[in-house]
Symmetry: C2
Subunit: 194 residues, 2 copies
DNA sequence: AATTTTTAAATGGTCATTTAAAAAATGAGC
DNA sequence: GCTCATTTTTTAAATGACCATTTAAAAATT
């Protein structure tokens, strides 16, 4: 039963330490020793569990993607109308659990490094495709075809832009406020339908 | 007369080489030797002219900011109405000169590293303030006060998001298309006024 | 001749990863 | 419960690269 218990715990601890350490020091310069220290472990143990720094980063990014996916599915479960489901995607992106200084930082770090690391690029593309698909599906019922892609692209870039800006701020983020603004922006764009 | 001639030429060459090298390899891992090779010079000469790697990066970012500022001012000169001036800001951001794979890459690299380098952070803030100020000024005449900030934030984040996405693409960018889409997005948002 | 520019080579430091050995945990047999 | 052989986990230290920066001297320019 407990065969993989410690392994799972260490994976979790080290990924969390990676998120914190990358936020503090930046992907570019963070060292294995710093990450290990954050977790109260040694650099060697990271290699024992993950094999290499690159694989640790990949696992960390995969964790972030999973969190986002979960947040989206949770909200989808209770949404009834296309409009509610559109808002569910926005809300998920700015949920209390995800829209934190730490996670915004690390998302941007991964984004910036995706073009230079096969594995990160793959994950990044999978994620973007998923969000695109959700938006397309919901907008189909809400927007005329000739404006649909413009609106989708606009909303999606808006969300990315908000994260980018949030990553620059050192004041604590306000997810509730971000959700409210995102809803306003979306409704502003949808309004132009009438 | 020619007293600073060579110095100026080398500065220019090395900054251009930095843009290319960072695009190719990423800010995180690019080396002085790679940048120098790109310019057909030696790593030592970079230190002779710039003092350090960090100062070279700062100078490169400053160059990018100058290019953006110039592009904006050029377009402002011929714009007559607030609407035209708003579009001038958008067009500048997606001008043929600026909206290239190389420059999108390097902008994102700098953005991602700004939180970890005093000098980059300063430049990044100056730039964002300038764009914000322009948007605010033009939207004053175009949008009711209660929606103005929402719309500005939305447009600005949209622009950032487009750059972010562009930096991920390896297919050549299409600035004309980007300008057209940005105008559509802006008009879509402005429409909701009526 | 004096000054500026250039670079090969040296320097000193950092860091991911490996190694080898110690420490903990596990579990079978008593 | 307890013992001890086996397996898993942990880390200190070694290894081997890599790299920004400095130095010292050569080359080019003035």
């Amino acid at each position: 039963m407990g065969r993989t218990r410690i392994r799972d715990i260490r994976h979790e601890e080290l990924i969390n330490a990676t998120i914190t350490a990358v936020h503090k020091r930046g992907y570019a310069v963070v060292t294995m020793a710093e990450i290990a220290a954050e977790a109260g472990a040694s650099a060697a143990s990271i290699n024992y569990y993950f094999g290499s720094k690159e694989k640790l980063m990949e696992a960390t990014m995969r964790r972030l993607l999973t969190l986002l996916k979960q947040a989206m599915l949770e909200r989808y479960a209770t949404a009834k109308t296309p409009h509610e489901r559109l808002m569910a995607v926005l809300d998920a992106n700015f949920s209390d659990r995800l829209f934190t200084n730490e996670q915004c930082s690390i998302w941007i770090q991964f984004w910036a490094n995706a073009p230079y690391a096969e594995s990160l690029q793959r994950l990044h593309r999978i994620n973007r495709s998923r969000v695109t698909a959700h938006f397309r599906a919901e907008l189909r019922a809400l927007v005329a075809e000739d404006r649909r892609e413009t609106l989708r692209e606009a909303l999606q870039c808006y969300m990315d832009g908000v994260w980018l800006e949030a990553a620059q701020s050192d004041a604590p983020l306000n997810p509730a406020q971000a959700r409210k603004e995102a809803r306003e922006v979306a409704d502003l764009m949808l309004l132009s339908q009438d």
